[in-house]
Symmetry: C2
Subunit: 278 residues, 2 copies
């Protein structure tokens, strides 16, 4: 057994200790019984930490997992973040170890993982990204909607639908053909003076950057709506963009065959998000 190779690697902390492994009987491994969030850190400082912790806390509560204290988690994020000037930090909280069987143990000792990686360099074309319509139709489970839990097979199946590196993202639709999100991002469209984003009360993941964009709508002089958005409506919008904490805002230049010119409001949203993340 090789242990020396990672014992000194400080990029991953499991319950506060450097480690590259988790116990097999962790319910995260056996059942996906946990949650995660991914955030950006710049020069050692996590961006929008308060919003991320709020989501982590909300998601844990939704699954009945005791959430680690903010101070403890933040200390671990701050310990790993300085490894790279621009870092992708992944925080995972699971229900911890338990005996075989679905029933949650009476006494839960959550597992917490903080992992720091260099932010991947992803140059996107000036004219915006190219997006496809995924074939999978996502399922609906109101009890899990919005939560970034560890049951992500639908995202994997969606992302496995294409290999062409010229396609940057895929849109996931529900069975009623409403667009829910990208495979790894939340979606917004602009129609005139309206900013719209899909309702995530029955499926999907509600990201921190989605909330930030919703919060920006007023200063952008856009009226925000959270609603069901059919694919046809999305394809007919004046502008489309996708967001997450690592990419910020990616304007969509092409969705299937349809092209979208640059839109001043999207340029502004991208700038506003980027400014706060600098």
């Amino acid at each position: 057994m090789k242990v020396g190779s990672w014992m000194d690697d400080p990029s991953i902390l499991v319950n506060g200790q450097p480690s590259h492994q988790v116990n097999l009987k962790d319910r995260g491994f056996f059942y996906g019984d946990g949650i995660f969030r991914t955030l950006l850190a710049v020069n050692g400082q996590p961006i929008q930490w308060a919003l991320h912790y709020e989501k982590i806390s909300f998601d844990c509560k939704a699954l009945g997992i005791p959430c680690p204290e903010q101070s403890q988690l933040l200390a671990e994020v701050l310990q790993t973040a300085p490894l790279y000037p621009r870092a992708a930090i992944k925080v995972v909280i699971t229900r911890g170890e338990g005996p075989r069987g679905y029933g949650p143990p009476l006494s839960v000792k959550p597992t917490r993982v903080v992992m720091c990686e260099p932010l991947p360099k992803r140059e996107i074309p000036l004219e915006g990204i190219t997006v496809r319509k995924c074939e999978i139709r996502v399922s609906e489970q109101p009890l899990l909607a919005g939560i970034k839990h560890l049951n992500r097979l639908e995202n994997i199946l969606a992302r496995a639908e294409w290999r062409d590196p010229a396609i940057h993202e895929g849109l996931m639709l529900d069975q009623a053909l409403n667009v829910i999100s990208g495979t790894m991002s939340n979606l917004f469209i602009i129609e005139g003076h309206h900013l719209l984003t899909p309702d995530l009360s029955r499926t999907g993941v509600a990201g921190v950057t989605r909330e930030r964009v919703i919060g920006l709508s007023e200063q952008l002089d856009l009226k925000i709506s959270v609603d069901q958005l059919s694919f046809d409506r999305v394809a007919s919008a004046d502008a489309i963009f996708v967001v997450n904490s690592l990419i910020g805002c990616w304007p969509v230049g092409q969705l299937e065959e349809k092209r979208f010119p640059a839109h001043e409001k999207v340029v502004k949203i991208k700038a506003l998000l980027g400014r706060d993340d600098a």
Copy 2:
């Protein structure tokens, strides 16, 4: 770091080596990107191995995970099984390690886990088990239906609905109020000379014992149907029973307020399954 405590424990093999840990970056941990099956072993011999391997192989193929060779997996099962006279063997296959992100890696090196535990002693009442109706309504994803994948949050939420140890199992219904299964078992009902089990083409897990019972119908002089079964129809049946590879057949004595007397065909099914598993 304590390693000595488990280095010599032969009850869990990870890729053929005794270990209690998996790499954190295993996609099983990050996304539930894998499958599992649980089987019974008696005096060192796995019961219905061929059927279990067939399911493991089918499930891997459905997720695009290369399935380990049968001979390799069987050798590992046979290595752990003799630890207990009656053992519960869990086999997990994941897509292995990969970089962050949902996209499956181009080159997949699956992780395989074989875990052996003593079969839990679960005495059930002579009059049959007590079953409740769960409140969760399970989601539908035809691409994952039938597969015993590692995304099991719905089973966890269902099983977390009750703590009363007098209740042995809960029925999971879909949004149309059709019964899909128990939280950890497949379901059958008897109506006259008909044996019925829920259609699992849109959700649920298709277990090995379910297939065995379907195969027994002819010699039991019962006409088998796989169909949508409403809760009301289940509650009005002559008899109900649930099955899985560890429990065999559990006759249902009570579903919510309704009681069910013993039924000769269920007694016979229980005996037939038990005889083959001895």
